[in-house]
Structure formats: structure tokens, C-alpha cells
Symmetry: C2
Subunit: 436 residues, 2 copies
């Protein structure tokens, strides 16, 4: 027979079962965190009409698209969950209840250059709150509350949610009359950690021909430090007479106030005046989240407030605020640095191993365990005892029940704790209590 | 602005949130049923190399494929979860523990002609048990045990798992020397309910030129009726001297024996000698599952035993047994006939509505509820009370907590049961007990 080599495409994550168990636990924890705040699930198609999906797309994205024709249709695989959300909200506007709080967890596709830790198929886990015409600023504080809940739930300890407001940045650039150069200025500021303040100032002066007064103001701004409250105070006292700037500071104050009401501890968030998150989409609060011990991997959860979700599809003004976790990359990184916390390393709570040929007793025990809500597996193969325990080991199963002639006679089963290597004889009811 | 009409492709199911909640509950129940038997999750890519995915595909399938090129690569979207499983097992053979019990729940793609109840993107929920060279017959009985558990879990009552064995059919056709015509004979038998016995016999005689003796044997076979044990006895006493046939009857007996040990009640399964499930893939036990009150919708869960999972990829002999639920179609049908059973119609267990402007108390209450594992949502918008309750209604939320000045003073919150329309004043601890 002509055989084909079985091979998964590069850039596509495919896990062995024991890792998949951990991955799925992460999805479950993210989902239950999102649901704890009452977000509603949606599940849009992976394939959409290209016309619909690319109504908004720019040139940079288009190169990475998985686009193709089928019959007369131009189709594209979704490259994020935001455009499908915009389509969904515009399409079902009359059937949706606003504010619309939705989550979606699903795969998206980007034909990026394959490299370690970059994936062409990856899970995004998004939440957004969409208002009809307006949306209360408290929502901007609830998003970080969900982030905090989610990462705590994932077992991460040392992370910080960085918060800024785009109105502050845009207002500042307006105030110093450098609005047109805001993209370049932000990009340069972004590098300040690497190149130092003096070089930043030199670039402002020599490359961008900025006035000294403007440069001083911006430097003063980016040098704002201190506690959250000190930063807020300094922002107020910077003497910037610009309405947008003032509105931004006001919003940031409100968000911080509510973040505290949501019980996010002080060490888990900070005002970070250097984050901007691109310059065309977000219009207010913006977030990035960093693992403090692994800052170099970049933000693991980002998002923000936007004025207009679906302007390409509808005349309705649909402001929103949301965030996204790129789970495939996050899993890859956490797995790499050993930060995956798991409650359960296996699907089965127990493996039943029979020492006798007749499997009736094993099946009976499995029935009882399963009816009690315990995941139980029976080893059916007629192999040597060593092979059976090797199977249990490879499954990472925490307990094994051994059923031999003694156990059938006495009614007490041997329960072996695989981690500790201990074993005891117990009645089935006791075993159920122990496993639950 | 030039607007694009937001439109989902036809043949792609996209649900409103309240229905998505029910759909997701079905997935959860299927998954937990599969996990109760210790099946391990895998998650293969939606996109595979065409060469790999089509190593085995026939002409009929190819027309329906979503195939395209990206750069130098010919790519195809998966059209089932069986070929990806074969690839997976062949690719990771050395890292997998056999017997390999895997489940996969995911979307597959078939460009079928769009019609009501047919979908181009749909979820399959598969389980398979793959052996290395051999696989114990008990596994053929555990698959129906999982089916039974799953459908009970989904709240379906009146269903029957139909069981047959392909060796019996193949052996019978060998015995009457009509092996080459087996496809046509099976197809004709399939129609017996519609066209009647006499026409079937006429077709055998006139169209297929079959010997009278052969026809009599086949008629005798398909007319076997009675209880499961009567059927087994009649199969033994049919006087068919063929090894394959005898092996098939023996296997069927074994499977029935174990099915009973797995506590599947007699009314939930039956021997059905008319099911064959195609003729090139399955080699032993085959299953179909019918809703007894809705037989016309066809089998809602099918599968069987095969000798060789991955012959196109590997020289390893990998026998297996499995089954698949086409969830998208099943959901569509059950929703249509009103058979979706749901424990919970909303994500939020409770919606908190504030009668005062200051939301501090509402947030405080939400924090406590969420920390107690309750899904709690706060209504943030400053609207009239009527609009707030309308929102609660649309969410299908079972309870609303109302927080006004009285509640803040007394410390007792108003808990409203939305279904019953009743309300009471309770302390937060009492509310937690009630909601849990």
C-alpha cells in the first residue's frame, strides 16, 4: 500500500493527551471565570464571507489571511473574534439585549511566519460588553475584575494589570500641538526602557523637530511615578489645559475607584502611562497584563474601550469595552516555564485493574463509581500486572483499584494511591468518599 | 461610510445567546459522559495538509471538501474527526498509551447543499478506543454503555441502541455465495419496511438472479424476530455453516453479555440485523441509535468496530471501535421538537439591580456571591426599574437581588424569584444557601 506520512502542519499546536488535559482545564477555568460575571456565550462560524470579514481589515492583516473560493463564494477563516462579534451584534441587533455581555472562546487563523511560540491556529478567549449608544464607565473596571478573577483561577500569582486611558495620551499630544506625530512619539516612548530618556529626547528634538516646551511636557508626563493615587494627583497637576486630557484623567480616576470596589488588590494593578494599544481602535481605557517575573513575553491579556464596534456594518453607535487572552501562546509559554497549575492531571479519577479473568466484578464496581459521579476506567486487556500498572502510570491516574479473588471474597477492594505508593483495603462506599 | 451587510453564510448555525447556553450545556453533558468512562481529550487542527487528510478519501467526499492553497501548501478543512484521529495515532504512535481511549469534540466542514437541518459546519462528538494489534471485545460493549450514559445525561428517555455485527452479514452472504452482490442486497433489505417482503424477493430473483435457496436463507435471516436472547438463539440455529458468520454471532453474544453487565436496560438496546453502516470500513459490531418517537430523523449516534484505523499512514495494525454524535444536527432537531432538557436557562444565577445611584453595595454583594461560586451580574445602567427587570426577563435569570435604601439600612436584601414572581428579604448568607 502507498502510505502517506502522517504529519501535522507546522504552526499548528497539537498536544498529547496528558497536555491536552491541562490545556482543557485552562479553558474551563477561563470560561467559568467569565461566566461568574454573567457573560453570555456565542459561537460564530470559523468561515465567513470575505466581504463581511474584511469590511474593516487593513493591508497588514490581509497577507496573513486564510482566504479561498468555494463555488461562487469568497470565504475567509476568522482571524480574530472581534470582527465576528461586530457582525453578530449588527446582524442580530434587534434580538440582542443590551448591554450585551458576551464571551467567545474559539480558534482563529493567521498565516504568520511559523516560529517557536507563534501559532497559525490559536484560541482566543474574549469578553466584551457592548452598549447601545452608551456604556457606563463601571464596565471599564469590571473587565480588569474579570482578568484578575481569571488569572487567579489559572493559579497565576505574580501578575499586574496595567491601565491607561487613550484620552489622556491623545489629549496630551493635542495640548502640545503634536497630534499628527502621536504614533511616532508613542513608538519612541515605548522604547524608553531600552534606549534611555536622553536618546528619546534627542529623537523628539532632532528627528521630529518638536518644540522644547512640548518635549518637556511629554518627558514630565512619562516620568510620572509613584503610587496609583500619586500618579492620579500628578496627572491632575501637570497643568495640561485640554478637555480630552481632563476627561481621560477623570475616567481613569473613576475606573480606579471601581477597581478597588471590585476588590482587586493594589499590587495587582497599576496605572501605566506608556501603554497605548495601537492608535486607531481604542478610545478610552486600555489594559495590558504582565507576568512580573516574565515581562519579556509581553502582555498576556489586553484590551480596552472603543467608541464604535460595528461602524462598518451598521449606523448604530455601539460602544464597548473588552479584553482577549491568546490562550494557545499563553499555554505554550506557561508550559515552557513550568507555571501550569493543575487540579487534576488525568481524566480518570481511578483505574480498575482486575487480577481475575472474569471482569464482571470490575464492571460492577465501575458502574457504581460512575453513578456516584466518579470518572472510572477499567483496564480490559489481558496483560501482566506490570503492564497494567505501567498503563496507570502513563495515564497519571491518582488511584488504582485492584480486584482479585481475595477482594471478590471479602467485598473489600484494594485502593492504591499511585502518588504515595500506599494501599489499603476498603469497602466501595469508603472508596467513593475518598475519591470524591 | 460604505457599509457591508452583516450576514452569516447559509448552512452555518449561529445561535442567539439563550440558545447557545442550551447548546453548550449539551456539549458539557456529552463531554462529562465521555470523561466518566475515562476517555482522553485530543484537539487536532481544523486545517490539515490535503495530502494527509485525503490519503483515504473517496470521490463522493471530495466534492464536498473545503480545499484551498496557501503559499505552496494544499490545505483542506477536516470533514470528520476519524481521519485526524488516524493521523494522530500514526504520528504519535510511540508516545501514545494503548489501548488509546480518546474523545474529540469539534467542528468539521462539508460543503453540502444547504437545506433545512443540514449544516456545512457542524460539531462532531466522537469517542474511539484504539488497540495496538488487538482490542478486547468488551470494548464493543462499553461504547453502547457510553452512548446510554450520554443520552440519559442529555435528558432523552425513549431511545434504542440498535446493534449488529458485520461478520454475520458478510458470513451470510459468503454462505449463500452472493458475496459480490452484498452491497446491493443490503440496500434492498434496507428498503423492506417501505416496499414489503414480496418485492424484495422479486428483486433478488429477477434483478439479481439469485438462487431460490439463497433467497430463502436471506429471507429467513431478515425475518428473525423476538427478544434479544431469542434472536441470538435463532441466529445460532439458522444452519449457516460459515466461519465468519459463526464468529460474528459469537461476538454479538459476547457484546450482549457485557452490555447487560454495564447495566444498560433491555429496553434501551436491541439486535437489529438490518443495519450495516456502509460496507468498506466497519468489520464487526455496528451501532445506530434511534429516538423511538422520531425514527424518521434517522440514527442520532452511530459507530462500530474496524480492523484497521490508519492503514493509509502506518503499517501498524490498529483495530478500534467508536461512535460519533453529530451534535449540530441533533441540537437543531431536538430544539425543533422541543426535546432540549436544560438544568439552567441562563449563565447568571442572579442579577443584582440597584435602586440607588451609588453602586458600592451592589458591587460588594456581587463580590461576595462570586467568591461563593455563584454567577452574579450587576445591572450597571441608570435606567428605570421597568427596563432593569425587562433585562432580567430577557436573560432568563432565575433570581434578582434588589438593593435600595431600605436594603442598605437593614442589611437584608430583597431576593425575587423571577419564575414564581415571589420575593423575600434575606441576609446575604441565606441568599447564598438558596442560590447554591
Amino acid at each position: 500500500m502507498n502510505r502517506v506520512q502522517p504529519k501535522t502542519l507546522s504552526g499548528f499546536m497539537e498536544l498529547l493527551p496528558n497536555e491536552q488535559v491541562l490545556f482543557n482545564q485552562m479553558i474551563d477555568k477561563i470560561r467559568s471565570s467569565y461566566e461568574k460575571f454573567g457573560f453570555l456565550p456565542i459561537d460564530t462560524p470559523v468561515i465567513e464571507s470575505s466581504e463581511v470579514l474584511l469590511a474593516k481589515a487593513g493591508g497588514e492583516t490581509e497577507k496573513q489571511l486564510y482566504s479561498f473560493t468555494k463555488g461562487d463564494s469568497n470565504l475567509t477563516l476568522r482571524f480574530d473574534l472581534t470582527v465576528p462579534l461586530a457582525k453578530y451584534v449588527a446582524e442580530y441587533y434587534n434580538q440582542i439585549t443590551f448591554p450585551f455581555r458576551r464571551y467567545q472562546i474559539g480558534k482563529v487563523y493567521r498565516g504568520e511566519r511559523a516560529q517557536r511560540g507563534r501559532f497559525r491556529e490559536f484560541y482566543q478567549c474574549d469578553i466584551d460588553i457592548i452598549g447601545d449608544e452608551k456604556l457606563n464607565i463601571i464596565n471599564d473596571a469590571e473587565i480588569p475584575a474579570v482578568m484578575y478573577e481569571t488569572f487567579k483561577n489559572l493559579g497565576l500569582e505574580n501578575f499586574t494589570i496595567h491601565i491607561n486611558n487613550r484620552k489622556i495620551l491623545n489629549g496630551l499630544f493635542e495640548a502640545v500641538d503634536e497630534k499628527e506625530k502621536s504614533v511616532e512619539i508613542m513608538r519612541t516612548i515605548d522604547k524608553i526602557d531600552k534606549i534611555g530618556k536622553d536618546i528619546v529626547v534627542a529623537i523628539f528634538k532632532d528627528d521630529y523637530n518638536m518644540k522644547e516646551e512640548s518635549i518637556n511636557k511629554i518627558v514630565e508626563f512619562i516620568e510620572i511615578t509613584g503610587t496609583t493615587d500619586e500618579k492620579l494627583e500628578k496627572l491632575c497637576n501637570l497643568g495640561i489645559e485640554n478637555e480630552l486630557y481632563k476627561k481621560g484623567v477623570e475616567e481613569l480616576k473613576e475606573v480606579i475607584k471601581y477597581i478597588r470596589l471590585f476588590n482587586i488588590p493594589e499590587e495587582a494593578f497599576e496605572i501605566d502611562l506608556s501603554i497605548a494599544r495601537g492608535l486607531d481602535y481604542y478610545t478610552g481605557t486600555v489594559y495590558e497584563t504582565f507576568l512580573n517575573d516574565y515581562k519579556s513575553i509581553g502582555s498576556i491579556c489586553s484590551g480596552g474601550r472603543y467608541n464604535d464596534l460595528a461602524g462598518y456594518y451598521t449606523e448604530k453607535q455601539l460602544p464597548g469595552v473588552g479584553m482577549s487572552i491568546g490562550l494557545t501562546r499563553l499555554f505554550f509559554i506557561l508550559n515552557d516555564i513550568g507555571l501550569i497549575k493543575s487540579d487534576k492531571k488525568s481524566i480518570s479519577d481511578v483505574l480498575i485493574i482486575s487480577m481475575v479473568e472474569d471482569l464482571s466484578k470490575s464492571i460492577e464496581v465501575a458502574n457504581i463509581l460512575r453513578n456516584s459521579g466518579i470518572n472510572a476506567e477499567i483496564y480490559f486487556d489481558d496483560k501482566k500486572i506490570k503492564a497494567k500498572f505501567k498503563y496507570a502510570d502513563k495515564l497519571n491516574v491518582p488511584y488504582v483499584i485492584v480486584i482479585g479473588e481475595d477482594e471478590i471474597k471479602s467485598g473489600k477492594l484494594t485502593l492504591k494511591n499511585m502518588q504515595e505508593g500506599t494501599q489499603e483495603q476498603l469497602e466501595i462506599e469508603k472508596i467513593i468518599d475518598k475519591l470524591k
